[in-house]
Symmetry: C2
Subunit: 352 residues, 2 copies
DNA sequence: CTCATGCCTGACAACGTTGTCCACTCCTCT
DNA sequence: AGAGGAGTGGACAACGTTGTCAGGCATGAG
């Protein structure tokens, strides 16, 4: 009956045969709490006892179960990051910066991509809340964040980055999209352009809307009319972007003259636009929002309105940890400047 | 004494004032387990009761505490990903692919960067194990993974990707670095080059070593000697890479003739090498390991040995979940082919 | 030699959930 | 009308850890 042929189990084995503090205590011949003390480096344990416990720990391959610890302590030492796409070269450094700050505060990072889908964002955020992350850094995709209210009330610190929260008050770290776009368009105007196109992201995305607003402001300030065929907002898929660019360059819409310059609304749009022959052949000027690797080595080198994604991430994470440390002043909005980097493509003079 | 001046708490409020199932049960006038049943969609609850419970849940803003759930159930439905640098354009799609697979299996992704530091990798992995992730996908930085043995024995599924595990048997998903590099060098040789340089990553990194081996194999197969000044392994910082490239191009070492072609060992090295004037002016041929965005738009367009980072990630994650579903055959090594994409820079003929 | 004073140590409850198991109600069939 | 069954609801223990608290065992002083 008794399976004494089996080696005596050094520990009770559950699903995945994990020793617990109880097992360690039994093996070391000490009490449960003493093991806890050793594991957590608490004072009040004789060197000799500690040694015995350590030996038992290594012998059994014990590893503290943080789920139980978290349950007991109430803090998880982890933060959640929800962004649009981990693989987007704009968000990758942002995400890395958040991770660095988290690491400096001894927290782990749990992250997920919303794929620009509000519902998916919501699911992800709530899953993270169920895990009881201490805080959240969110690049929002949805247009209503009231679902977060109970979570925030329950003490989950929340910082939005790149785009503000919708319908709730919350901390946000943003780039000055409006000013950046306006400066980019003004740059093109200063180089003689009067018919300028704007190709941007989906209009429901805050940055896209702001950049469009900046575009219109710059045009208006220069007294230039905007033909609506020069404005194209939509998904960043290459086919759409290319089609819109070519349409604007050919002035295919009724009554519209072709544009002589383009402002592209983000790095995804820009890297597609640089493939358009007219850009490569310097028949049209181009200013792109967001800097990107190798922009200076293209033909022509690409003039950009640079943001600092890593700084956005760092600021957001730092603000988050300030909240976690108790700062409870009113939600604040941090705005970071953009920087126009002239490289050539934006200085192409108008042709026609 | 009794703080009856305060509004009666709808729920006991701990650190962060979170209602529990108990609170929901009290408010809905049902038993604890009934709430659990509703929350988990288990059968055996009258529509009317369910409605009452749902109302209580929304009224209190209840959210299940997954720490407690995890503690009870033993599975966390989360996997860990440890890589070198989240922001590296090679690892970003890999990481995204792992996330997609995890999502398809209803698991969350916890990740961290090792910064190519073995000790940091170890800390991160063990922290993830303490969180009781169900499985791990690791791009290893360290050179000894025996520290993982107790974890693997305890049932943590582990898959290595991009580089194999050191000193333990474990699943691994790799690209054929050796063959890729050999093919790249053969390509250069076929275009008439006889003096070819190799600039790679740190020699302790498996892929760097393999690519160097491929380089030597191709040279040997063509009966070409390798001057040791043509081989430079080291960190991927731009200064070092540029210096090594220029040194090789000038044949500055005693008795060494300058190289007429370069093989660069990964995307970080390549994007630095393309800035070297000799490359841009087509005075030296270049083949780069790893494809990268805009490679085809540079001058000259860059010939690369392409890997598929997203496929690496997907295969690794799929293998991981197959393990989690119980597959316990011997550790396997999956090798994915590379693809040489000639674009111009590798077809530059030798000059001198 | 006895007692006070520390310092260690361990028993026990609690964290919030889920699984087991039993009790109860309401219906239907005889 | 009573018995059996199906279906619903709830009490209770357990998951592995940490905080509280009380007890034990030296050591030193009186």
């Amino acid at each position: 009956m008794a399976d004494t042929t089996q080696p005596a189990h050094p520990a009770r084995r559950r699903y995945g045969l994990r020793p617990t503090m109880k097992d360690v205590a039994a093996r070391a011949g000490v009490g449960l709490k003493t093991v806890s003390r050793v594991v957590n480096g608490e004072p009040g344990v004789t060197p000799d006892t500690e040694r015995r416990v350590q030996e038992a720990i290594t012998a059994l391959g014990f590893r503290r179960n943080d789920s139980a610890r978290i349950l007991r302590k109430g803090r998880t030492s982890s933060i959640g990051l929800v962004l649009e796409d981990l693989a987007d070269p704009f968000y990758a450094p942002l995400s890395r910066a958040v991770e660095e700050v988290a690491r400096a505060h001894g927290a782990l990072l749990i992250n997920g991509s919303s794929a620009e889908d509000g519902e998916r964002e919501r699911e992800l955020v709530l899953a993270l809340c169920a895990r009881r992350v201490d805080g959240l850094v969110i690049i929002p995709a949805g247009d209503d964040h009231r679902y977060l209210e109970p979570e925030i009330a329950a003490g989950v610190a929340t910082v939005f980055v790149d785009r503000p929260a919708a319908r709730i008050e919350a901390d946000a770290v943003l780039s000055r999209s409006f000013e950046g776009a306006r400066e980019g368009v003004a740059h093109l105007i200063a180089h003689g352009h009067r018919r300028i196109g704007f190709i941007g992201d989906l209009p429901r995305i805050h940055t896209a809307a702001e950049r469009l607003r900046g575009y219109r402001a710059a045009m208006a300030e220069a007294g230039l009319p905007v033909d609506e065929s020069w404005v194209a907002l939509g998904p960043t898929d290459p086919g759409r972007v290319r089609a819109d660019a070519e349409r604007m360059l050919e002035g295919r819409e009724p009554a519209a003259e072709p544009v002589t310059a383009l402002l592209t609304g983000n790095n995804r749009v820009t890297v597609t636009a640089v493939r358009v022959p007219a850009v490569r052949e310097r028949r049209v000027a181009l200013v792109g929002f967001d800097d990107f690797e190798l922009a200076d080595l293209l033909t022509p080198p690409v003039t950009v309105i640079a943001q600092e994604p890593a700084l956005l991430g760092r600021k957001a994470a730092e603000l988050l940890f300030r909240r976690l440390e108790g700062a409870d002043d009113a939600p604040r909005r941090v705005e970071l400047p953009t920087r126009l980097i002239p490289r050539g493509s934006g200085e192409v003079p108008p042709r026609s």
